[in-house]
């Protein structure tokens, strides 16, 4: 590192990993725009509202279209709240069950995405509470059923295990608010104002939770710096 710093003293430090990350980020943003609905478009609001209206009238095809549009987003949010991808799948399924029941209550004055996000959050909280209660009552921990993906798609299994590891490393020690805000801002790229609008928190609370989450997550790495102890003394 010293040699590296001496070799390029005037150039900004860009490691090979960083340049690779930048490439990945741009690629990822491009893929995100393909998959996730762009909510800056007003016609998208209108389409969602129309689909919700049809689904509330009992049109199953409209509901299936809604699920197709939002399943990936809901699963992604559920990853933040769950312990692993399997639990996220359960949460996502439950979210759509509740969405089907309550779709008549959806008012078209806000984006459907925000409405679904609130359902996801509530569902995840309830499922976690229920599991905790059942865990206390059960004598032995219940074995998780094996998913089909583990037997049919080895690559998928690896991806899911990696995701579970990431969730465990990043989120397991964080309270739900901090985990949620960190994920939405730093991993999904939303602005604090957007997060505040979606979660119903105040922008100040979003920033506070974000700072706390960042500090908690980065502390373990930053502690290796010699000046770190002096900084927080």
């Amino acid at each position: 590192m010293l040699a590296h710093a001496g070799a390029m003293p005037t150039q900004p430090y860009i490691s090979p990993a960083m340049s690779r990350n930048r490439f990945r980020r741009e690629k990822h943003r491009a893929s995100e725009t393909e998959n996730v609905v762009a909510y800056h478009d007003r016609s998208s609001y209108a389409l969602d509202a129309q689909l919700a209206s049809l689904a509330s009238a009992g049109d199953d095809a409209a509901f299936t279209t809604l699920v197709t549009r939002f399943q990936r987003a809901v699963f992604r949010w559920a990853l933040t709240f769950g312990r692993d991808p399997d639990e996220a799948e359960d949460i996502a399924q439950e979210v759509f069950v509740r969405a089907h029941r309550q779709i008549g209550n959806y008012r078209s004055d806000g984006p459907l995405e925000a409405w679904l996000y609130r359902i996801t959050r509530r569902t995840a909280t309830q499922i976690r509470r229920t599991r905790k209660r059942r865990g206390r009552l059960a004598l032995t921990p219940a074995a998780r059923p094996a998913r089909d993906v583990y037997t049919t798609d080895p690559g998928g299994r690896v991806d899911r295990e990696r995701a579970a590891t990431v969730i465990r490393e990043l989120f397991s020690a964080l309270p739900q608010r901090q985990r949620e805000v960190f994920d939405l801002v730093d991993l999904q790229g939303l602005s604090p104002a957007e997060v505040a609008a979606r979660t119903g928190m105040k922008p100040v609370s979003v920033r506070t939770n974000l700072f706390k989450a960042r500090k908690a997550i980065r502390d373990s790495l930053l502690a290796s710096h010699p000046a770190y102890q002096d900084l927080w003394r």
């Binding site: 990945r24 990822h28 699920v67 399924q93 994920d183 730093d186």
Partner: protein, 239 residues
């Protein structure tokens, strides 16, 4: 920028917004400690974002939608069933409350649960006998019931203080024995006179009344003797 400022920025700042020409990154170029740290932090968060954002759900959306619709309809039916069951349960409870004796007693007991006082007239039984009869019904555990019967004045009645249930029970018992002549052992007239004399004697008025002397026509009527002060005889209180 020194290491402290850089660490402070790295600890709470957004790593996404760090451009290569920012002060933090310029410091990281020259610092042998901050540079690798910044790289490690950015790598870790970017890898996490990549792993989580690119992980697809395994279930097909059509399956999810069909399952959601089916479960939702089933839960709706279940909710209706639970509501109807609850309504039936409540209706059964209220109907039983108004139709069964237990329910009526519960409702009636709630309306007048306080103790009452009642005087029961006696035609055959003496108040003492009546009190002995109803005593066990009134002396239940925790009861504040009492019997007030007039003994001295010989009024043929008994006064009971207790709950409506106790009073009803007592009057039923009294009525049962009032109609039974064997149970009535009220003293006869001669017995009553004897008792009165006994009481008078106890009170000091036990001297018999002197009988008047027989009056004959041949006996001349003597002039009455001059009134003298009567000699006091011990024991005579009557004037």
């Amino acid at each position: 920028m020194n290491c402290h400022e850089c660490l402070s920025e790295l600890a709470t700042g957004s790593l996404r917004d760090l451009t290569p020409d920012s002060a933090v990154m310029l410091h990281c170029v020259t610092c042998p400690y901050c540079g690798p740290l910044a790289t490690a932090l950015r790598d870790r968060e970017y890898n996490a974002a990549t792993v989580l954002n690119n992980l697809p759900p395994t279930s097909s959306p059509i399956t999810v939608a069909e399952t959601a619709a089916m479960v939702s309809r089933r839960r709706r039916l279940g909710k209706v069933a639970v509501f109807l069951t609850g309504a039936a349960l409540v209706a059964t409870f209220w109907i039983s409350l108004f139709t069964t004796g237990l329910g009526r007693s519960v409702i009636g007991g709630g309306a007048s649960s306080g103790p009452e006082t009642e005087t029961i007239p006696l035609s055959c039984l003496s108040p003492e006998k009546a009190a002995e009869l109803v005593g066990p019904y009134l002396r239940s555990s925790g009861s504040s019931s009492k019997i007030y019967h007039v003994d001295k004045s010989r009024v043929a009645a008994i006064t009971i203080h207790g709950t409506p249930h106790e009073i009803a029970q007592s009057s039923a018992v009294i009525q049962q024995f009032e109609t039974n002549p064997n149970a009535c052992q009220r003293p006869s007239i001669a017995e009553q006179i004897r008792q009165m004399q006994e009481e008078l004697r106890k009170a000091g008025m036990d001297q018999p009344i002197p009988e008047p002397a027989p009056v004959s026509a041949s006996t001349p009527v003597q002039a009455p003797a001059p009134v003298a002060a009567p000699a006091k005889t011990p024991g005579s209180r009557r004037e």
